[in-house]
Amino acid sequence: MTPVVSGAGWWPILSVPIAVEADVVTARQRARRVAELVGFDAQDQTRIATAVSEIARNAFEHGGRGRAQFALRDAGGDDPPEAQRQRLVVRVSDDGPGFGDLDAVLEGRHRSKAGLGVGLLGAKRLMDGFRVETGAGGSTVELEKALPRRRSRLDREDLGEVVARLARERAVDPLNVLSEQNRELVRSLDELKARQDELARLNQELEDTNRGVVALYAELDARAEQLRQASDLKSRFLSNMSHEFRTPLNSVLALSRLLLDRTDGELSEEQERQVGYIRKSTESLAGLVDDLLDLAKVEAGKLDVRPADFTAAELFGGLRGALKPLRTNEAVALVFEEPPADFPPLSTDEAKVAQVLRNFVSNALKFTPEGEVRVSAAHDRDADRVLFAVADTGIGIAPEDQPRVFEEFAQIENPLQSRAKGTGLGLPLSRRLAELLGGEIALRSEPGRGSVFMLSIPRVFSGVAAVSGAGLAEPPIATGPRDRGACVLVVDDDKAFRYALRQMLNGAGYGGPAHDVVEAADGVEGLRLARAEPRPDAILLDLRMPVLDGYAVLRALAADPLTRGVPVIVATSTAEASGADARLAHARAVLSKDGLSREALVAALRGAIAASRAAAPEGER
């Protein structure tokens, strides 16, 4: 490619690379500006810029890349006047494969879809000079336009100024800056959008997690509820089953007592011993059932605390008598330390405290081969609590086993275990009872040296104690005239218990009045007999019966004027039978079937009958 330069001056102004599409725009804008700066009018500026646009596009489309060079050609002084005019030259060169049939293009016979023909031809028309050199190595198009005549000649200094100005403008081309800023803005916006999306995604994720947590909580709640129900069910089962056990046990106890009392004639020595064993076994079985029942009651929250005033000395006195039989080993002394004289009275449930201490002592006696078991009481004035301690010199409990002794049915392996019988329920029950009284149980033990079991309770029970029911209170024993035989109606579905009652009430050989006993096996029968002549003097009523239960019978008796005056004594093994129960208001007394003795039964009957006779204006009987 020979530079098309005559001998005259060739003053370069600017060079614009053409590599991307936007460069075509830049090239024509620069062309317009250059044309303006060197003095062309608006029309020529447009022509030049348009021509440059066409040729630059060609270079970009066909050559791929190239550049546009702007220069001023200054002819030598000896040229003819017209030729001496300064000319703006734009040389656009590319590395493309050339134009091919250049002549055809220039003659307007060629039409390409990019408008090549129009472009080249048009550019040629718009400019004063147009030269093309094309070959396999690339093409160069040179466009030329003479500067306007009226314009004074530009010298090199003027041109230098033009060049400097162009350079400055390029640096701060407002459009470029604007579009750059625009792009920046769009980028920021994109980033912002991406971040927002990310946030939304995170938020969603959090929400999902949250939902999961909520679901988990619901599940946990459901589980807790299930557990509670299961525990409830267990307590109810235990409580109910214990009653089922207790009913026949009570019968066995009552019957064996009748036998031992020689109610039905003399027993041979052997028979007496056998009945004695029966009775003993039954008692221990009943004790086991009692413990179970108590535990179940505490768990079901059914055990009431009945606070009363008593002193530690009284408590110890009672315990001493009750526990003496437990001491079967002569090598062990059972010592009750006398509480100091200024020991303040307690106001809590004496029976429960006694039960706990009894458990402690019987436990201590079981595991003490020799030495002593010492029971003491101390008063903590600051906390106003009473501390009972049962210390023994027994085998002790290893530290790792200590927590386990309060677990239900837990028994620690030891040499005395085989000898000592126990249910494994005593200590757990004691702990629950202590909790019920607002206190706690502690254990200090050393294997081989002995153990100290401690019960610490508030001196004055302050919990919500259940009001002890009037119905449960022992009826006062009537001091009236001796009863003649009365007619007693026994309503109970348990045949064995009815039998035991009848035996007790017939009282043959007792010297007491022989009562007539009428029996009913269920509530309906009971009601019928209660209304029949002869009207009974008293009714012994069981609560749990098929068909019509004791509560319903009681209601019916109270509602009927015929039977309203007949005293009713409820004899039951049902745990929920408490004097506080409004359904039992009509009952004169509530007796527990456990360990019901003839004396207690007779006394209750006598009291009830006497009270009802006193209430009636003129005794019908």
């Binding site: 599409e21 725009v25 317009r32 447009t46 810029a49 348009t50 718009l126």
Partner: protein, 139 residues
């Protein structure tokens, strides 16, 4: 990002070209405009090129194509605000934009479109020459 905005004004589309378009931008405008005509059922298109200092053969042909395509889609195109220097250059370039109607400025362009809309499918489009473009106060 680089797109020429197209505004809808009643039954007409309004395009104001305010930047020196590179070829792809011009091609994109052609495409967008065609789509919008089809989508909106516009009856007239007004393209304002008063900001353009240079209209070379590519942009010229784009305007020509837009006019032809919109006509096939049932819309008439009027190009307004062409600078005299640009008009002269286009003629010298050999592009007379025979299919494109022109008007001096936006006002007249809108008036022209309004008239077309009133006439409904008038036969006016058969003579799309310079009549309207040159009836103003001389350009």
């Amino acid at each position: 990002m680089d797109r020429i905005p197209i505004l809808k004004l009643g039954d007409a589309l309004l395009v104001t070209i305010q930047v020196d378009m590179h070829d792809r931008l011009a091609a994109a405008l052609e495409e967008d405009l065609t789509e919008r005509i089809a989508a909106t059922g516009a009856k007239g298109v007004l393209i304002d090129i008063s900001s353009l200092g240079i209209v070379d053969s590519f942009i010229g042909r784009m305007l020509d194509t837009v006019a032809a395509v919109s006509r096939m889609l049932g819309a008439d195109t009027v190009v307004v605000g062409m600078r005299p220097a640009v008009a002269i250059t286009l003629v010298e370039l050999g592009l007379e934009l025979k299919g494109v109607r022109t008007a001096l400025n936006v006002e007249r362009g809108m008036a022209l479109i309004g008239r077309w809309l009133e006439d409904g499918d008038g036969d006016e489009r058969d003579g799309p020459a310079a009549g309207d473009a040159n009836d103003g106060d001389g350009g």
